[in-house]
């Protein structure tokens, strides 16, 4: 199997479905670039949201079930200007100054030190 598919960061809930297809299909990353670096798929939504992008694309047409269907297929997506990236925190404290000593409130996340 190719390295890309072997290392593909599929969400856990889809792992079984992915295992069933990975020998017949290979994963291909979205050709999304920022500062000439390929953006990894697990970060793509976050990086794309609200960004100004240049898209190089092809155009296809199918006539299916009496309907005209078109597709713009991106060949390269380049971030020209990032949007306001919102990284959802995995922990939110209502009041950082009181977070560690309030009963019933979880303590803020501590960095592991060398003494631990």
């Amino acid at each position: 199997m190719d390295e890309e598919t072997k290392q593909w960061p599929i969400p856990d809930e889809m792992a079984q479905e992915f295992d069933a297809i990975k020998y017949k299909f290979e994963a291909q990353p979205l050709p999304l670039y920022h500062d000439n670096l390929l953006v990894q798929p697990q970060h793509a939504n976050e990086v794309l949201n609200g960004a100004i992008v240049e898209v190089q694309f092809g155009i296809q047409h199918w006539y299916i079930k009496q309907t005209d269907t078109f597709q713009a297929t991106p060949m390269k997506v380049t971030i020209l200007k990032l949007g306001r990236i919102h990284v959802p925190p995995n922990y939110k404290c209502p009041n950082p100054s009181e977070d560690s000593d309030v009963p019933g409130q979880p303590a803020s996340k501590k960095l592991r030190s060398s003494e631990d």
């Binding site: 898209v55 190089q56 694309f57 092809g58 005209d68």
Partner: protein
């Protein structure tokens, strides 16, 4: 660190290129041709045409993670998953005008081959105006080497 994006310079450098969707000569440089399953836009060398457009990525149905637009327990199998994103008109006046011109040109391309008057899946319109949808397969079928093993002897 990346340089700050200069929208005016981008507009000046690109707006006269024929592959830029918002340029005046975009349509003249395109032709529809048959493929094995439908039609595609090609250039004068009969190669798939590579158009360029600039827009702002919308949060609407932004599905570009490792499983694209696939969702667990959905009807469609994982191998059909697609990366999907929409771009809308940028707020910058010059790039915004380019985007509108590009959409108009793409609608004209659709009208060249569309028979039904209902053109689906590429240009959408909501209260914000028109958006362009992009889709790209997440998975592609592996090419089997066995097709080369049974040639004439």
């Amino acid at each position: 660190m990346s340089q700050q994006f200069d929208a005016h310079s981008y507009h000046v450098n690109h707006s006269n290129q024929s592959s830029y969707a918002g340029s005046h000569n975009f349509l003249a440089s395109t032709t529809w041709q048959h493929t094995s399953t439908g039609l595609e836009v090609v250039n004068s060398d009969e190669e798939p045409y590579v158009a360029t457009i600039v827009g702002r990525i919308s949060a609407y149905r932004l599905k570009c993670g490792p499983a694209g637009n696939h969702f667990d327990s959905g009807m469609s199998p994982l191998e059909k998953a697609k990366y999907q994103f929409y771009i809308s008109r940028p707020a910058n006046a010059e790039l915004g005008a380019d985007f509108i011109a590009g959409i108009n040109n793409l609608e004209a391309l659709q009208n060249q081959v569309g028979k039904t008057g209902v053109h689906k899946n590429m240009i959408y319109e909501d209260v914000m105006g028109k958006m362009l949808r992009f889709a790209h397969n997440v998975f592609i079928a592996r090419v089997s080497l066995s097709i080369f093993r049974n040639g004439p002897r």
